[in-house]
């Protein structure tokens, strides 16, 4: 109904403070992933007689996951453009795509995990698989939290419209979602591509 209503003026200093704080938080998260990556790098050869990365992972699926998550992030960017233009229906549409693709990604990942466990290659099999499940699983956990957050935000957009608080929260969410994309690119490179190349 108020599809083209302009965004109310923002309390600029407060918003800037929050965005900066969220950036810093994202950097701490980045370091958390950094520790897990370092552990994976050290342990990835410790297969304890089990299969190695190159034998285990399904590359087409990993590539599909990557493309799905990147598209989700792209939709999130389009949603933010719509938010800035004050177009509510359009924003909700793109946020819906973001969520649907995120959910698809998560489904792929859970299926991959379930397959590995069913084949006897669970996290308890070797140091390498412990590191794999923890690194990729932590990313998946972040995606899950992001989807929950997105659900709350969609509810807020529908019921409250683009108030300054809702817009601020959407901005933070989009930062979070893009950040998870960046982390996934590293996972795709370090875990899947380098695994396939047996580096």
């Amino acid at each position: 109904m108020n599809d083209t209503a302009a965004i109310p003026p923002l309390d600029h200093a407060a918003k800037e403070k929050t965005l900066f704080g969220f950036w810093v938080y994202l950097m701490t998260d980045c370091l958390l992933f950094g520790s897990l990556f370092a552990t994976y790098a050290v342990l990835h050869g410790n297969t304890f007689g089990g299969l190695a990365a190159g034998d285990l992972f399904n590359m087409p699926v990993a590539l599909a996951e990557t493309l799905i998550l990147l598209t989700s992030s792209f939709c999130c960017g389009l949603a933010m453009l719509a938010v800035q233009a004050g177009r509510k229906r359009q924003a909700l549409l793109w946020l819906g795509f973001t969520a649907a693709l995120g959910l698809t990604f998560l489904t792929f990942e859970i299926r991959e995990f379930a397959q590995l466990v069913a084949d006897g290659d669970s996290w308890a099999r070797s140091g390498f698989l412990s590191a794999f499940f923890t690194l990729v699983g932590t990313h998946g956990l972040h995606i899950t939290i992001g989807l929950l957050w997105l659900g709350v935000l969609v509810w807020q957009v529908i019921h409250r419209g683009f108030t300054k608080h809702v817009v601020r929260r959407l901005t933070l969410f989009s930062m979070f979602w893009h950040f998870l994309d960046v982390i996934w690119i590293f996972i795709f490179t370090v875990v899947y591509l380098m695994g396939a190349l047996r580096i």
């Binding site: 900066f20 958390l32 308890a124 099999r125 140091g127 923890t134």
Partner: protein, 661 residues
């Protein structure tokens, strides 16, 4: 039936109640103390007041005070562990086996280290930062007041978890850093290590959030005109410390998480079998742990810089070089972690690199020591109790630093690794650096927060007891270490001839204990006779920085009108030029509303941690879900601030203005 019981109670059973008389006694004593405290508050009918004025408060001055109270109680807990260890080591020689068995002794030293670092040193540090930083930079609050409350209650939840083993189960026997494979399930099958993991995990997340909060506070909320090079030096030290917190604590979170996954999910990160790598843990934990000790000491350096300048009546010597030295220390602290385990055998090239980097840290630290001494040079020095702490610090810290440079040489380290020489070294750095610094800071800023100053005589007596007691307690440990005494000994043979020195160390610890008694008396008498020590001026020490320009105790809004900054020692310059800030134009101000969500999230985190320790899956899941729901509800609120109108503010501020004039 058994399955159901296991589902409900996890690993909990009646056997979890401690059997060792000493632990049982301590546990009952702790419960009695807690019970009488609860009874006392109920008798005074102060619960409502506690809830409304303190637990739900988002005022950093109140949160800081609560940090100090928790840290003080934990200091007493950690110190009672000290006395047990000292008595044990003084008596347990030859055919005598002292007062506790080996298993209990291991839990005592593990608890001592963990509590002293996480709940005393970190608590005092974050307490002081909360009290001082917003005032010092001319802000009304921190950047994220609600997050600040969450941080404090996570810290408190961690504190409660680490004290649970006194009444339920056992504590970790794997030392304060719980090296695997000893800390793995195969060798520590009990719940002790899990208690350790979850206590530190929850408190650590609180510290990390505080790190983000105060970094943003200092960068974004300085008073107009306060450029970075006009920032008071204590706030500078806090800023750099927070950067280190942000870099270091995520590593701790990840490492503790992996250790718990090993123990609970059968993973193989650090196990001896299954393709684990235990040295990965040691690397990771020190990649956090080494910066951590600098995280503790840098704010103490900041405190001393303020104190020396104030009580020498001089501008701080070499302000810019102080900032540079702080930054350099922070940088180097991240590339020296391997010196904690030269004996891993990484090879002489690796060891040489880390040894040299370690020695280099001595240079910026030396710069700071000389800057303090030059600040004192030709100053009009007043020997107040903060200055006594400072002088004790300079003497002890420099000697401790020299023993550190010795330890930085891999060849020497191979000889004294894991000996009491090392124990003496790091206690010198942490007690004289961190503890003395934070005590001095609390004494110095106490009148600003509470409106009256602490009793000087007892303060000086406490400082002297700590300094002298320290020398007697740790001097012998240096010698014992060189004689070959390893750390964590619960028993030794009389043939070594160590007993006399252990007895001297025990006497030293008692003198330190006397110092603690002096401090407790000091707090008691200062509160009882507060009318005599009232700070009516707001500026009891003839201070230099902004916080002394507002009244004591600082009002909940800190400054009615945010001052404009033109100089590094703004308040000093204003006093010299006769231009003390006069509030000119009042405007509406916004402050955060109190909220109980921080307490609830802290309580739920405790439950989740407790559930994780005892494998109570239903409780853990319920706790996590409840936390998520509460956070969603709270964070969806838009009206978390209230406004004080200019008129109200003027009314609130007027009597204070007269007081200042």
């Amino acid at each position: 039936m058994n399955d159901l019981l296991h589902f409900i109670f996890g690993k909990l059973s009646l056997n979890a109640i401690p059997h060792v008389p000493m632990t049982l006694g301590a546990g009952i004593g702790m419960l009695l103390a807690l019970g009488s405290l609860i009874g006392f508050v109920t008798y005074l009918k102060r619960w409502k007041w506690l809830w409304a004025e303190w637990f739900t408060s988002l005022d950093p001055k109140k949160i800081g005070t609560m940090y100090l109270i928790v840290a003080t109680i934990m200091l007493l807990r950690g110190f009672s562990d000290v006395m047990l260890m000292r008595v044990q080591q003084a008596l347990s020689v030859g055919s005598s086996h002292g007062i506790v068995d080996a298993a209990t002794f291991q839990q005592i030293f593990s608890a001592h280290g963990s509590i002293m670092i996480f709940f005393v040193a970190m608590g005092l540090m974050f307490g002081l930062i909360n009290l001082v930083v917003p005032l010092q930079i001319g802000a009304r609050d921190v950047a994220f007041p609600f997050l600040n409350s969450i941080s404090f209650w996570l810290f408190t939840a961690g504190m409660i978890i680490i004290n649970c083993p006194m009444v339920l189960g056992e504590f970790s026997a794997a030392g304060w850093l719980a090296y695997p494979p000893l800390s793995e399930l195969a060798y520590s099958p009990g719940v002790g290590v899990d208690y350790w993991i979850w206590s530190l995990q929850i408190a650590g997340v609180g510290s990390l959030l505080s790190g983000v909060n105060f970094l943003v506070t200092i960068i974004k909320m300085r008073a107009p005109g306060m450029k970075m090079m006009r920032l008071p030096i204590f706030s500078w030290s806090v800023l750099i410390t927070m950067v280190m917190v942000i870099f270091a604590f995520p590593i701790l979170t990840a490492t503790l998480g992996m250790l718990y996954l090993d123990r609970s999910m059968g993973m193989h990160f650090f196990t001896a079998d299954g393709g684990g790598n235990m040295m990965m843990y040691v690397n990771l934990i020190w990649a956090w742990g080494h910066p951590e000790v600098y995280i503790l000491v840098l704010p103490a350096f900041g405190v001393f810089s303020e104190i020396v300048a104030t009580f020498s009546r001089k501008r701080l010597f070499g302000y810019a070089s102080m900032v540079g030295a702080l930054s350099a220390i922070a940088f180097f602290s991240f590339i020296v972690w391997l010196h904690h385990f030269f004996t891993m055998g990484a090879g002489s090239d690796v060891n040489a690199f880390f040894g040299i980097m370690t020695m280099i840290i001595g240079i910026p630290t030396g710069v700071k020591i000389f800057n303090w001494l030059f600040t004192m040079f030709r100053g009009r020095i007043k020997f107040t109790s903060p200055m006594i702490w400072f002088l004790g610090f300079v003497f002890l810290f420099t000697t401790g630093g020299m023993s550190g440079v010795m330890l930085a040489i891999p060849g020497i380290d191979y000889q004294v690794h894991n000996s009491l020489f090392l124990v003496a070294h790091f206690h010198t750095m942490i007690i004289s650096g961190v503890v003395f610094g934070l005590f001095a800071g609390v004494t110095y800023w106490f009148p600003k927060i509470f409106g009256f100053s602490l009793h000087e005589g007892l303060g000086k007596a406490a400082a002297w007891c700590w300094i002298i007691g320290f020398i007697f307690a740790f001097g012998p440990l240096y010698i014992l270490g060189l004689m070959g005494a390893t750390r964590r000994l619960d028993h030794y043979d009389s043939i070594h001839g160590w007993q006399t020195l252990f007895i001297v160390a025990g006497v030293g610890a008692m003198i330190v204990g006397l110092g603690i008694v002096c401090q407790l008396l000091q707090i008691f008498f200062s509160i009882k006779n507060r009318k005599k020590n009232l700070d009516t001026t707001g500026d009891p020490w003839n201070g230099r920085t902004l916080e002394w320009s507002t009244v004591s105790p600082a009002p909940f809004y800190n400054y009615a009108v945010i001052p404009t900054i033109t100089d590094r020692d703004q308040f000093w310059e204003d006093k010299q030029s006769g231009k003390i800030h006069e509030p000119k134009q009042y405007a509406d101000i916004k402050l955060p509303k109190n909220t109980g969500v921080g307490v609830i999230v802290g309580g739920l985190s405790f439950l989740v941690g407790f559930a994780a320790v005892w494998h109570l899956a239903w409780l853990a899941i319920a706790g996590v879900l409840a936390t998520i729901i509460i956070l969603i509800i709270h964070l969806s609120r838009d009206d978390n601030e209230y406004t004080i109108s200019a008129e109200e503010l003027k009314k609130l501020d007027t009597p204070r203005k007269e007081q200042l004039a």
